[in-house]
C-alpha cells in the first residue's frame, strides 16, 4: 500500500468523519421528524 504522509492522513480522517456526521444527522433527523409528526 502507498505511504501517505501524516498531514494527508489527518485531512482524510477529518473529511471522512465530517461526512459520516452528516449521514448520521440526516438518518436520525428524518426519523425524529417522523416521530414529531406522528
Amino acid at each position: 500500500m502507498t505511504e501517505i504522509d501524516q498531514e494527508t492522513k489527518r485531512k482524510i480522517r477529518r473529511t471522512a468523519l465530517m461526512l459520516l456526521g452528516v449521514v448520521l444527522v440526516f438518518y436520525f433527523g428524518f426519523i425524529l421528524s417522523g416521530v414529531l409528526n406522528s
Partner: protein, 536 residues
Amino acid sequence: MSTAVADSHDVHDHHGPEKGIKRWLFTTNHKDIGTMYLIFSLVMFFIGGLMALVIRSELAIPGLQFVHPEFFNQMTTMHALIMVFGAVMPAFVGLANWMIPMQIGGPDMALPRMNNWSFWILPVAFGILLSTLLMPGGGPASGWTMYPPLVLQTGNAFPFLIFSVHLMGISSIMGAINIIVTIINMRTPEMTLIRMPMFVWTWLITAYLLLAVMPVLAGAVTMLLTDQFFGTSFFLAAGGGDPVMFQHIFWFFGHPEVYIMILPAFGVVSEILPTFSRKPLFGHDSMVYATASIAFLSFIVWAHHMFTVGMPLTGQMFFMFATMLIAVPTGVKVFNWVATMWRGSMTFETPMLFAIGFIFLFTIGGFSGLMLAIVPSDIQYHDSYFVVAHFHYVLVPGSIFALMAAAYYWLPKWTGHMYSERAGKLHFWLSTIFVNVTFFPMHFLGLAGMPRRIPDYSTQFADFNLVASIGAFGFGLSQLIFVYVLLTSKKGAHASGKVWEAPRGLEWTVPSPAPYHTFNEPVHVDRTVAFPQENP
C-alpha cells in the same frame, strides 16, 4: 504519446497482487475492487434482465400464460431493485474505483479498507434479497417504491427486504464518503478542482447526492420496520400516521436517486466525445455548473411523482415548474456535447457509437419527462406504460449505454488488449435497434391507457405488447455479444498506453494494462495531455 514529465508510477511497483481467492477477499487495491464491482454489476444486470424477460414473456400476449399474478408482481419489484441498486449503481461505483484515482493522479482511494467493505456488503445484500424468492409467500411484491400499507402485507420477506435495503444503503454511503474524501485529498498538486476531468466532477457531485439521500431512504425503511414490528404508526392511518408521508420521504430520496444513476453517465459521455472528435470538451466549466444545478434542482422536484396523490394547486405549480427548469442545465449539456462534435475529426469506434446513441435516446427520455412534468398531462399518463417507456429510455439507452461506452473506452486500459471492434459495433447496433423496438411502443400503450404493473391486459393492447416482448428478447440476446467481447478481451492486439489517437487525461499516461499501483508519488503533468479543457 504520453508526455507526462514524471512517470514514477511503475518503478515503485514494490508488490503485486496476492495469489488466489485471498486477492479478491482482502484486496484494498482500487483496481481490484473496481473490477469486482463491474463483474458483480454485470451478473446483476443479467439476473435483473432475466426477470425482465419473465415479465415480457407474460405480457407478450393477453391472458395469463406463464406465471401467477403474485409472482409477476415479485418480478417487477425485484427487477427494479436489482437493476437500480445491483446493476447501475455498482457499475458506476466500479468505474469510479478504477478511474478516479488514475484521473486525479492519486495512488489509490483514500480509505482502501472501507472500500473493500463497501464492495463485499453488496453480494450479502443481494444474496438476502434474492433468497426471499424462495421463502413462504415469495419475495417483495409491492414495487421498488415500497409504499405502505401495501408493502406491510409482504410475508416473511419483509424484514429481509428492509435489511437488504439497509445494507445497500450502507455500501453506497461508504462508497460515496470514500469518493469525496479521495477527490478532496488525493489529487496530484497540479490537479485543481476546476481542472478535474468531467467524470471526476460528475462523480463528486453524485457522491454528495448519495450522502444526502441514502440516509433518508434508510430512515424511511427503518420507520416501515418499526411500523410492522414495534407498534409505531409512522405511516399507518389507523394509528394516526400518514401513508402519504412515506411517499414524500421516498421520493425525496427517489428523485435524486435518478440523477445518481445519470450524472456519472454524463461524465462518461463528456470523456468519450472529445477523444473521438479530436477536440477539447466544449464548455467544460459550464458543464460543471450545469451538473451542480441539476443536482440542486433534483432536491426540489420530488412531488412530481405524486401529482395524482393530491396536493394544493400551489404545490403542483411549484413542482411542475421546478421540474421543467431541469431542462435548462440538461440543455446546456446536450448543447455542449453537440458543440464538442461540431467540426471535429470524428471517428466512430464502439465507445463513440454508444456515446452518440446515448445523446439521441436519452434526449427522447428527457422529452417524455418534460411531458410528465406537466400536471394536467401527468394526470393522464400517471401509472401508465408511458411512464415505463420514459424511465426505461432514461435508464437503458441512458445509463446502460453510457456504461457500455465506458467499458469499451477503458477496457484496453484495463486489459492491455484491444477488444473486437467488429463485435463491439454489432453489439451497439443490435442494442440500439432492439432497445427502441422494446420501449418505443410502450409510449403508445401508455397513451392508449394501458396501466403499468399488471400481468394481463385488454386485447386492444396486444400488438404493441408483442412487439415490445420481441424487442426485449432481442435486446437481452444482444448483450451476450458484450460477454463475448469481455471473454475474448485478452486475445486482441496489444494496446499502447494511449490506446486511442487523441485521448487526454492522466489515465492515458500510464502503460496498458494499468500497473497494479499507479501514481505512488505526486505526478507532474504536461498540461495539454492531462487537462482536457485546456487547449493544446
